[in-house]
């Protein structure tokens, strides 16, 4: 078996080995004690699996599992006029969230329309919005936010909450397990809608996630993270690695920043048109470029008809021109290979396309996504 091939065809988390010290989360020792296989994920020493990645995937779809997402960054924006600032900063409209605790998914764009990051904002009060950004882009995101605030809202404070840890508990039984471990949070979180959060003392509990399943993302003081992790495990919640996190989000049709979109491509060509508000009067960074440049490509789902595995960067040949797979893997729920691909606009659902895999051209069908959510294939 070719060792070099593993690295050439590595997944997103198989970044180049470097001699630099990897960053660790407060759960690092717990992962090792639980038998995790650790990998370098964008400079973080993270668990890719604790045994079988496929078993972990099914565990989340059928019961529940917990993920260390401490590498993601919590940012608090506070002061008068936060909402007006976010209205200008983000492609989605902060006015959509009026109920306290409500969350909104948005892209943050450059003036040329390229995606700086995708993030979730939580409306807590008119003086406080909480933002959660990706690990690899966090420093860049905060610098951009501060630069924009300097010009447009100098009175705001933008604080990176490096004192917080974050654990995601996902699956049909996830909420019940959290209530078992943190009974005092139940009253405040039982009535949460999907995409809504509540603050319960030191715990910030959000009904959000990245798996297509019900569940919570819990932010808590770093020093309490390990005890929380072990308490969940005692309650029967299995740890889930980044490997299954990737197949779960792909089945759920959720974009991964750096693969499905980045600064070189706009949100309308990345399956994110539903998050971009071009109709209201509101101006936002990137809007003028998006209006002046209608998209010529779009993101579609692919289902491989032949035997093999779709992977990122494979070329897609269609009747309307070339495209490229942005994320591909084996779907444990469908037991087939699936992918997201950026293709010319003319390609339609139901079309058969050809994907170049090594020396072969394999047939794939263009399909709607998500592929699976809430425990079932769609």
């Amino acid at each position: 078996m070719g060792r070099s091939a593993i690295f050439v065809l590595r997944l997103f988390y198989f970044l180049e080995m470097t001699m630099t010290t990897l960053k660790t989360t407060p759960l690092n020792a717990a992962h090792r004690a639980m038998g995790a296989k650790m990998v370098d994920f964008g400079g973080w020493d993270m668990p890719v699996n604790y045994g079988s990645q496929i078993d972990e995937h099914h565990q989340v779809r059928n019961d529940c599992g917990m993920f260390d997402v401490c590498h993601m960054r919590v940012v608090d924006i506070k002061g008068d006029g936060v909402r007006a600032f976010l209205r200008y900063l983000l492609a989605n409209n902060a006015d959509k969230i009026a109920l306290p605790g409500k969350a909104l998914y948005s892209a943050m764009l450059r003036p040329d329309g390229g995606v700086i990051d995708d993030l979730i904002i939580y409306f807590m009060t008119e003086q406080w919005f909480r933002v959660v950004v990706n690990a690899g882009t966090a420093d860049k995101d905060i610098a951009w936010m501060k630069q924009q605030a300097y010009t447009h809202a100098p009175a705001l404070t933008i604080t990176s909450r490096d004192d917080l840890a974050m654990v995601a508990i996902q699956g049909p039984n996830a909420r019940a397990k959290v209530w078992q471990v943190l009974p005092h949070t139940r009253a405040a979180t039982e009535g949460l809608q999907n995409f809504q959060a509540a603050e319960c003392g030191e715990y910030f509990v959000a009904r959000t996630g990245y798996t297509g399943e019900d569940g919570f993302e819990v932010m808590l003081p770093k020093e309490k993270a390990e005890a929380f992790w072990y308490a969940l495990n005692q309650a029967g919640v299995q740890p889930i690695g980044l490997g299954a996190r990737d197949t779960l989000r792909l089945e759920a049709g959720m974009n991964l920043y750096g693969q499905d979109m980045d600064e070189s491509v706009g949100p309308l060509e990345s399956g994110l048109a539903w998050t971009v508000d071009l109709k209201s009067e509101r101006d936002f960074i990137g809007k003028a470029t998006l209006l002046a440049n209608p998209p010529t490509r779009k993101l579609v789902g692919l289902l491989l008809l032949d035997r093999g595995v779709l992977r990122g960067h494979q070329q897609v040949h269609t009747a309307h021109g070339a495209g490229e797979i942005t994320s591909g893997s084996f779907s444990p729920t469908l037991e087939k290979s699936i992918a997201l691909a950026r293709v010319p606009n003319g390609v339609q659902i139901g079309d058969t396309v050809q994907v170049a895999i090594r020396d072969k051209m394999l047939a794939a069908q263009v399909v709607k996504y998500p592929f699976a959510r809430n425990g079932k294939a769609i």
Partner: protein, 129 residues
């Protein structure tokens, strides 16, 4: 799981078993399957194909990565394990039973000079850091 002492090994993590009729059976090692994780697809070489030593000839794909399998020695492919088409995960559960293909080697000497179990383990340990 230790590496069986009756097998030969390559630095690229294939195991090689010499059969009584002089043909050789090839699979990937315990260490290789552990690196790759859950196996979901195997493409074995066509029977009759002539291979040179170290030539890429098969592909194993796990959920997370694809890897080439190389011919341990020169020779001709005489069989491919079609059972892996429907159950590639047997490579994870039984790496030294789940063979991928069989060859008729050009020379038995080529096989005898491959790594033994001890030398292979030393190679794995050296790759670890």
């Amino acid at each position: 799981m230790s590496n069986p002492s009756n097998l030969k090994y390559t630095a690229s993590h294939e195991w090689v078993k010499t059969e009584t009729d002089g043909t050789i059976t090839i699979g990937i090692t315990q260490h290789a399957q552990e690196l790759l994780g859950d196996m979901v697809f195997v493409e074995a070489p066509a029977v009759g194909r002539k291979l040179k030593a170290k030539e890429e000839c098969a592909v194993v794909e796990s959920v997370k990565a694809a890897a080439d399998v190389y011919a341990p020695v020169s020779g001709e492919v005489v069989a491919a394990n079609s059972a892996l088409d429907s159950s590639p995960e047997t490579i994870n559960s039984d790496p030294y039973g789940a063979w991928i293909f069989k060859m008729k080697p050009d020379s038995a000497t080529d096989v005898s000079v491959l790594l033994d179990a001890t030398a292979y383990q030393a190679h794995v340990d050296s790759e670890a850091h």
